[in-house]
Symmetry: C2
Subunit: 226 residues, 2 copies
């Protein structure tokens, strides 16, 4: 098919690079991979994969993430494409950058050794290959915007979470403190976040109420706001 019309145009290697975020030790963390092959062997870089024939770019990302995290159907959002000629000095490679949000409790830390991976707090990232530090910056901005607009950040928390956990997550994402009482008010008014009967005793002696996200209520809320 293709040959009929577009045979004369140049073709390119295309990869996906993904900034995988989790919430760990009250900080945002990013999963990096230490390359064990040339070029740039030993460099820290983002989980990536070359796009295959007959594979959508979203699928390429999921495949790369499954390989490194063992998880499937991860929340991903495409951010943008990096297409400068010399961004990778070894070859002309067009990169499509995504971010992903995962729940660290679903991640098996034993994978780090097997896969040459490591979680780094976003405030303590090493120098990454090529333009990947810029990618992380851009990904953080987009993720911050998206989590302020939609409750996708909850994917970095357990299914049941306390308001304190959510508070710390939001502070980590926005990189600034929020008043505790005002924050609790906002959560209590977000009616798609529902209080359960359960109590978390792990983080305090007194115990804290556990909340959960209700997708049905959220969909309803989306339909009826304005």
């Amino acid at each position: 098919m293709e040959k009929l019309y577009y045979v004369d145009y140049p073709k390119f290697l295309v990869v996906t690079d993904c900034v995988v975020f989790c919430f760990k030790d009250n900080q945002l963390n990013v999963l990096l991979v230490k390359r064990d092959f040339e070029p740039s062997k030993g460099a820290w870089c983002l989980p990536s994969a070359f796009v295959n024939e007959n594979e959508s770019i979203d699928h390429t990302v999921q495949r790369a993430l499954a390989a490194k995290t063992g998880l499937e159907d991860i929340f991903i959002e495409q951010v943008r494409c990096f297409g400068d000629v010399d961004r990778d000095p070894n070859a002309r490679i067009i990169s499509i950058m995504y971010y992903a949000l995962i729940n660290i409790h679903h991640y098996d830390e034993k994978l780090n050794k097997r896969n040459n991976t490591k979680w780094f707090p976003v405030k303590e990232l090493p120098t990454l290959m090529y333009d990947q530090n810029e990618m992380v910056e851009v990904a953080i901005k987009r993720m911050r915007y998206r989590t302020m607009e939609k409750p996708v950040g909850l994917r970095m928390l357990p299914h049941l979470f306390t308001i304190s956990q959510l508070h710390k997550l939001v502070e980590a994402i926005e990189d600034k403190p929020r008043d505790k009482r005002n924050f609790r008010k906002v959560v209590e008014e977000a009616y798609y976040i529902e209080k359960t009967e359960k109590i978390d005793k792990s983080s305090s002696k007194r115990g804290a109420a556990l909340y959960r996200f209700n997708q049905r209520l959220y969909d309803h809320y989306l339909k009826h706001k304005l």
Copy 2:
């Protein structure tokens, strides 16, 4: 160079598609091209170009736009990449979508005949090739967000403009009316928009004050806000 490391991976045709906006007849308009070649000859589509070897994707867009509009150094922003396998039924083509903002007064309407192009109000778009109607929707959202965040929308107005012109532009972008007095207040408080001594007499008998965007003041404002 490339051959050393990545020879085994598949390669892809890559195009850029660009949603070119202008402000015309008090409406947002999009520039469409009627294809004069197969496949899909005769279909309306976005100005596009195949990426060349040794050409950045931003440059590809500028090249496509120069060809269709005769203009150079147009304001562009990349939105995202469309990479589904069957998005173009003729071939696997990865498309990187941009939007562009141009001043219709810089555009020579005689080009339309020569280039098979036509401006369409965004509210009256025809059915476009493949996934391009979705591209336009996504581009409008991004452009709306960006113009609310930064004064880039002014690129669709003349260098000197009246508050009424800006008012109508903003209403067209946001697709909803704004109170006239409140709007004027906002403009007068945006101190990088400065009133000139000049008067526009073309749109009313009384005449309206002409304003202009001051890049220097805007840069200063960016540095000093928070």
